[in-house]
């Protein structure tokens, strides 16, 4: 979602709203989608539908190019691209999933939604058909699509969250190095505040950026294994999660966010990214797309931009090298033509991934494609992923949608001051148990 085509957030939100306006309409049109059903076109070629969300350049034109390249080598196959805007894609997929008929190849973020589709018997197990390709990949990139030792999607993008910071503002506040522990971090915030600098930009309206704080704190305290255990037991009331909330509360008590952050969106002209990109805040906790959006929504801060991992928490189980993130992958519907799998294998060769890296600003998924990476910001994220000791998928994707949303919602309430850390843990557990 966030990982692929980040610069379209504002547009997505508008379009999303437009589609929201006609909730029913979206569901209705979904039924009217084309019904190729892996059939043949007029010249006898097998048609493979490829549903993607690359609505922005440069990937918008690279995707059709890749399809053409495949068709040139496989004259009996036609790849039919269906490109949808992010939110529209989600509502359409909801409708399609309940009708039990998915596109041949479709975009997935892995985690809870993919798991539900798998449980409904709609997704092809790709472990064998794409095994040789998977073996060439960065392990963290495949994680979101693996369940019970089987892989259900081919990753093409991967990313992670960390702190993006403004080196000039850090210097101005007399901070020599990025913090490595949570106590250090709180000190950094205090120093920035006393230097008259807004320490953190946050998009309170959208809730998910706030969730990153709670998630990372939980990961640092409970560890990736602890997170998994809690998810399996559907119980987040353990001390670790309450502690995560308390630490977040410590931070909120310092009033570190920009004015009006509760109403701020992420990528609008006065949202989180713009605040950061115009040099009005010193840090934001965001994924690898942050530099692009900062430059798009604001002016961008160029060489002043730095990156550091989320600090460790004293006494926590999680390592500072555990990474929180997610990416994008392509799943194949059960019973899709074999050409669909062939295409994915073609799409993710090292050669092809190098094109995605160099032209579409993606972080390499195939190890051999790393050399194509030139952007220093993306290299920082890629390095962090390469060295990662543990990987946790975005919680709003890893867990069933209701649980993910409840975490977003409860964290937002904690930041707004209306829920206590215990209440957050209880609310999340309550929703998890109802699933």
């Amino acid at each position: 979602m966030r990982a692929t085509a980040p610069f379209t957030f504002s547009r997505r939100r508008f379009l999303g709203t437009a589609s929201a306006a006609g909730l029913g309409a979206a569901a209705l049109t979904a039924c009217g989608g084309s019904d190729s059903d892996g059939g043949k076109d007029s010249s006898g070629r097998t048609v493979v539908e490829w549903w993607n969300i690359q609505t922005t350049e440069p990937s918008k034109s690279i995707w059709p190019e890749r399809a053409k390249a495949f068709e040139a080598k496989n004259p009996k196959v036609r790849i039919k691209l269906v490109t949808l805007e992010n939110d529209a894609y989600k509502s359409k997929m909801t409708a399609l999933t309940s009708s039990g008929k998915l596109p041949d190849i479709y975009h997935t973020w892995g985690g809870g939604v993919l798991k539900q589709q798998i449980d409904a018997g709609l997704v092809e197990d790709l472990s064998e058909p794409v095994k040789t390709t998977l073996d060439t990949m960065v392990p963290a990139s495949v994680k979101p699509y693996q369940f019970d030792g089987k892989t259900y999607a081919m990753p093409f993008d991967i990313g992670a969250v960390g702190f993006w910071y403004n080196k000039a503002l850090f210097k101005k506040a007399g901070i020599s190095a990025p913090p490595t522990t949570w106590d250090d971090y709180l000190d950094t915030v205090r120093k920035l505040k006393s230097a008259g600098i807004t320490p953190i930009a946050l998009a309170g309206k959208e809730k998910w950026p706030g969730m990153y704080f709670w998630s990372y704190l939980s990961m640092r305290i409970a560890g990736v294994d602890g997170m998994q255990k809690a998810a399996d037991a559907k119980d987040f009331t353990g001390d670790d999660f309450v502690k995560a909330g308390e630490h977040l509360k410590e931070l909120v008590a310092l009033k570190p966010f920009q004015k009006g952050f509760l109403g701020a969106a992420y990528s609008t002209p006065n949202g989180e990214a713009a605040t950061m990109g115009n040099g009005k805040a010193a840090m934001e906790l965001m994924g690898q797309w942050a530099p692009v959006v900062q430059a798009d929504a604001g002016k961008g801060i160029g060489k002043d931009l730095g990156f550091f991992s989320f600090p460790s928490v004293a006494g926590g189980q999680g390592a500072v090298t555990d990474v929180f993130g997610g990416g994008g992958g392509y799943a194949v519907r059960k019973g899709a033509p074999k050409a669909a799998v062939d295409f994915l294998n073609f799409f993710m060769t090292a050669e092809s991934d190098r094109i995605l890296v160099s032209k579409a600003n993606m972080i390499p998924v195939v190890k051999d494609a790393t050399s194509a990476l030139t952007d220093p910001n993306l290299t920082a994220v890629s390095d962090m992923l390469g060295k990662s000791t543990g990987f946790q998928l975005y919680l709003d994707q890893a867990y069933p949608p209701a649980v993910g949303q409840e975490i977003n919602d409860s964290t937002a309430a904690l930041i707004a001051g209306s829920k206590s850390p215990e209440q957050v843990a209880r609310s999340v557990t309550q929703v998890a148990k109802s699933q």
Binding site: A20, L23, G100, D119, G204, G260, A402, S434
Partner: protein, 329 residues
């Protein structure tokens, strides 16, 4: 003689109540009448059934399940969703905020629209321009309105704060959509901006239908401007006011787009409406069962209001047209 008289008398008593001729029509005729009626209404009925009734029934059915939208609903939970609903602080808040919006709309927005309509019904230089200007916001889509105002009301950097700052009223500016305590007034401000022009147009149309002679006669009788408004304009505008209040209330109950774009229901649910909550549960959390229960609640609230309003308030206006056939007999 006697016998004939008696016969006549009997005939007279039979004929006297004067039966309606329709009841005497031959059976075949009545059946074909029915068939004609049915064949003309059937297409409309089928469409209405398939597109309105069936989805409502389906929502009602789904609302009895704990269902995530995948496969078919199996986890039957009875009225569980509903008992959760009436304990859900967000839903209860939605009801309160809905009531607030309805109250504000009817008590502030409509009188304001009426005042503007009366003003612009006078012979005024450039009144066509004013009418157009005030009506223009209604033509904008809600999403565009929302985007526009979220920029205008951006804390510090937005137009509103800049203007207030420039005229030395910095104190009045603030967080607008970004604070729990100011988000609802700000939202209402935008709603008024957007919708009062529409109601103003309705009233203007109504005002055109009031004969000038009435005002003239009243003026001759010595009625002042207020009396003429109170005793002529207002009563004759009654049907228009009643319809516009109805539209305003239904609009407030179902408010979605504007809120979604400006505040997304936040901060911390402070501006959430029923439709927003519905969307959150249905399309963000995929708790379709619970969302359906909510939609049924929203439907019932609208339905009860609509029926009660039709029955008690609009009765005079619709007598004979929508109510029973007493008036036509």
């Amino acid at each position: 003689m006697t016998s004939t008289f008696v016969e006549d008398a009997r005939d007279a008593t039979v004929e006297a109540p004067g039966g309606a001729p329709g009841n005497r029509r031959p059976l075949v005729r009545r059946v074909t009448d029915w068939l004609t009626a049915v064949s003309f209404t059937l297409p409309a009925l089928i469409l209405f059934g398939a597109l309105v009734l069936a989805p409502i029934m389906y929502a009602l059915y789904v609302s009895l399940f704990n269902w995530g939208g995948f496969g078919s609903p199996t986890d039957y939970t009875g009225l569980d969703n509903y008992s959760r609903l009436i304990k859900d602080p967000v839903f209860l808040g939605d009801l309160w905020r809905g009531l607030l919006l309805v109250g504000f709309s009817v008590l502030i927005q409509l009188p304001f629209a009426l005042a503007m309509a009366v003003l612009l019904n006078q012979k005024l230089r450039g009144r066509a321009v004013y009418r157009m200007l005030f009506f223009a916001p209604y033509v904008l889509s809600e999403v565009i309105t929302g985007v526009l105002f979220s920029m205008i009301f951006a804390p510090d950097d937005g137009l509103a704060d800049k203007v207030l700052g420039a005229i030395g009223l910095d104190g009045l500016g603030g967080l607008w959509f970004a604070d729990q305590s100011t988000v609802m007034p700000t939202l209402f401000l935008v709603m008024t901006w957007k919708y009062f022009g529409f109601h103003m147009m309705l009233y203007l149309a109504g005002l055109q239908g009031i004969p000038a002679e009435l005002h003239e006669a009243a003026r001759i009788d010595g009625a002042n401007a207020w009396e003429r408004f109170r005793y002529i304009t207002l009563p004759l505008l009654g049907p228009t006011v009643r319809i516009s209040a109805f539209l305003s209330v239904i609009g407030a109950i179902q408010l979605f787009d504007l809120v979604w774009v400006t505040s997304a229901g936040g901060p911390d649910h402070a501006s959430e409406t029923m439709a927003i909550t519905l969307f959150q549960y249905g399309f963000k959390r995929y708790q379709i069962g619970y969302a359906s229960a909510l939609s049924i609640a929203l439907f019932l609230i609208s339905l009860v209001f609509a029926i009660a309003y039709q029955r008690f308030v609009l009765r005079r206006d619709t007598e004979g047209a929508l109510t029973n056939m007493r008036a036509t007999r």
